[in-house]
């Protein structure tokens, strides 16, 4: 099955995180990507721009309403995602637990619909 792993966490401004901390986190993500390649799981993943750059679109009565900001204003925001191939939910949970962001924020797992 394919699962989308959504990485939620607190957003930090550049001033809040030192260069070293950023470097260390990038290294963790590179290591995680390498792990996915080694276990033979196909994946895609991207980091997202800050939530302040988000736009929400709704269509009501055929009118498109475009609003500023992410869908829901919460303490933790969507910061990135992976789409991975996993054997089943337990396998996806195991992968999600290895994402560096899981240690500070949370990962939402969503099965992907196959058409």
């Amino acid at each position: 099955m394919k699962y989308m792993l959504l990485i939620y966490g607190k957003e930090y401004s550049p001033a809040e995180v030192s260069e070293e901390e950023q470097q260390a986190e990038m290294a963790q993500y590179f290591a995680f990507n390498e792990h996915l390649r080694q276990r033979g799981s196909e994946y895609q993943g991207e980091a997202l721009m800050p939530a302040s750059t988000a736009t929400t679109v709704r269509v009501r009565d055929d009118k498109t309403i475009t609003t500023d900001g992410p869908f829901a204003e919460t303490h933790e925001v969507l910061g990135g995602f992976y789409i991975v191939d996993a054997k089943d939910l337990d396998d996806a949970i195991a992968i999600a637990g290895m994402i560096p962001g899981a240690r500070k924020g949370s990962i939402e797992i969503r099965p992907i619909v196959v058409f």
């Binding site: 099955m1 699962y3 996993a86 054997k87 089943d88 939910l89 337990d90 396998d91 996806a92 949970i93 195991a94 797992i109 099965p111 196959v114």
Partner: protein, 425 residues
């Protein structure tokens, strides 16, 4: 065939079906990764069984027969509807080619073939942490407990449509999220097994301590949880991982052994102190004790084993006063080192009061006052210790508070009698 014998056959068939239902459903669910599809296929197979077994007799391996026919029926559905995605392709490979004749269906299963018991896999799926606890409980009872949706709804005090929806949603989530039907990896196994044991304990307690009055429903829940715990024990490897499952099974059997002594003719509650111990199920107690002994030898202690050991000490005691309270107090101390709960501390205080006197018990109760002020057994324990210290007024106040807080009219009646009895001292 006379009317009478056809009824006998039907009854025999229904008995076999009742006995095999859980195993067959588990085998089909594990194969399809989908409980709802398994139920549909099994329904078809049951209809075929009633028809064919009435003419041909019951096959020697009914579970294998039902499973094979159910798989075939499911595949027929897939062939009819090519877009049906419920049955994975590899489920098709293991099956014989379809045939038109019922006789062939009847002959195709080898009666001596080992029929794998997949019920533990189904239980791991039903008790998966991606499902809410109430959904885990309902689904476990529906798929493996053999209770109807209506019975489960009444046991948990919700209406039937609500319970039906809860079960349907849980099945849909298992399918959509890819919750697996398998024994979890060793790294996950202890925690996932704990989840199963917690669900079974919850089912038992719902039956044992529930406040509503339907005696047969309560007894059903206790019996089902014991039956399911036995399945877990039987299907786990004979290894240390089995210790807590054996501990839980022993614990449930020990509690349940007192079932006939716990209520008077009017349904009123009788506390352990006043129970007629001759009414306890001593055969069941012996079986639980040997189970617990086996568990303890595995040298992987856990809270169910310790609770079972406490319950076993009660079961062995000739009277309430002649109970090995010192050892019980000791076991509660061990339990407290595993989980620091004020309820465990309360039970320890009660045991200590039986060894070192009510004053010693009261000293241990005092620090629990704020944590347990809304918990009526705390006030019952206080009332009892105050009574033994001849503080009649304070004891009466403690009973008042306990009566106010307890939810069950039976227990309230009992407590009122206790309060009344204070005047006799």
């Amino acid at each position: 065939m006379t009317h009478h014998s056809s009824n006998d056959v039907r009854e025999a068939i229904e008995q076999v079906i009742h006995a095999e239902y859980g195993r067959v459903l588990a085998a089909l669910s594990a194969q399809f990764n989908d409980i709802a599809a398994a139920e549909d296929a099994l329904q078809d197979a049951l209809i075929a069984a009633l028809r064919q077994w009435t003419t041909n007799g019951i096959p020697r391996n009914p579970a294998a027969w039902l499973t094979a026919v159910a798989k075939r029926r499911a595949i027929d559905h897939v062939r009819r509807d090519q877009h049906h995605a419920a049955v994975p392709d590899d489920a098709l490979d293991t099956l014989p080619a379809p045939s038109a004749s019922g006789d062939e269906e009847f002959l195709m299963t080898d009666p001596d073939e080992a029929f794998p018991d997949e019920r533990l896999k189904l239980m791991f799926a039903c008790c998966h942490p991606a499902l809410a606890l109430e959904a885990q409980v309902a689904l476990t009872l529906r798929t493996l407990g053999g209770l109807t949706t209506d019975e489960i709804a009444r046991a948990f005090l919700v209406n039937e449509p609500t319970m039906a929806q809860r079960i349907t949603r849980a099945k849909a989530k298992i399918r959509a999220a890819g919750i697996p039907f398998r024994i979890p990896d060793p790294s996950l196994l202890p925690e996932r097994l704990d989840a199963i044991l917690a669900v079974l304990y919850l089912i038992f307690n719902e039956g044992y301590a529930s406040t509503h009055n339907r005696a047969h429903l309560r007894r059903n829940l206790c019996a089902e949880s014991i039956r399911l715990a036995r399945i877990v024990v039987d299907l786990l490897p004979d290894a240390p991982i089995r210790a807590e499952a054996e501990g839980l099974l022993a614990l449930l059997m020990l509690h349940d052994s007192r079932r006939d002594a716990r209520h008077d003719a009017g349904g009123g509650l009788i506390v352990m102190e006043d129970q007629n111990r001759a009414l306890w199920d001593h055969a069941q107690i012996r079986e639980a004790e040997s189970l617990l002994e086996r568990a303890l030898k595995r040298r992987r202690p856990g809270s169910y084993q310790i609770q079972a050991a406490i319950s076993a000490l009660h079961a062995q005691a000739p009277t309430y006063a002649d109970t090995d309270w010192a050892q019980i107090a000791e076991l509660y101390s061990v339990l407290m080192s595993l989980s620091d709960s004020p309820v465990i501390a309360l039970n320890r205080a009660i045991a200590v009061s039986m060894v070192d006197g009510a004053a010693a018990g009261m000293r241990l109760l005092r620090p629990l006052a704020s944590a347990l002020d809304d918990y009526y057994p705390y006030h019952v324990a206080r009332a009892d210790m105050l009574r033994r210290l001849h503080e009649r007024e304070a004891a009466s106040d403690a009973y008042d508070r306990a009566i106010l807080l307890c939810h069950s009219p039976r227990e309230a009646d009992y407590l009122r009698k206790q309060r009344q009895a204070l005047n006799d001292y």
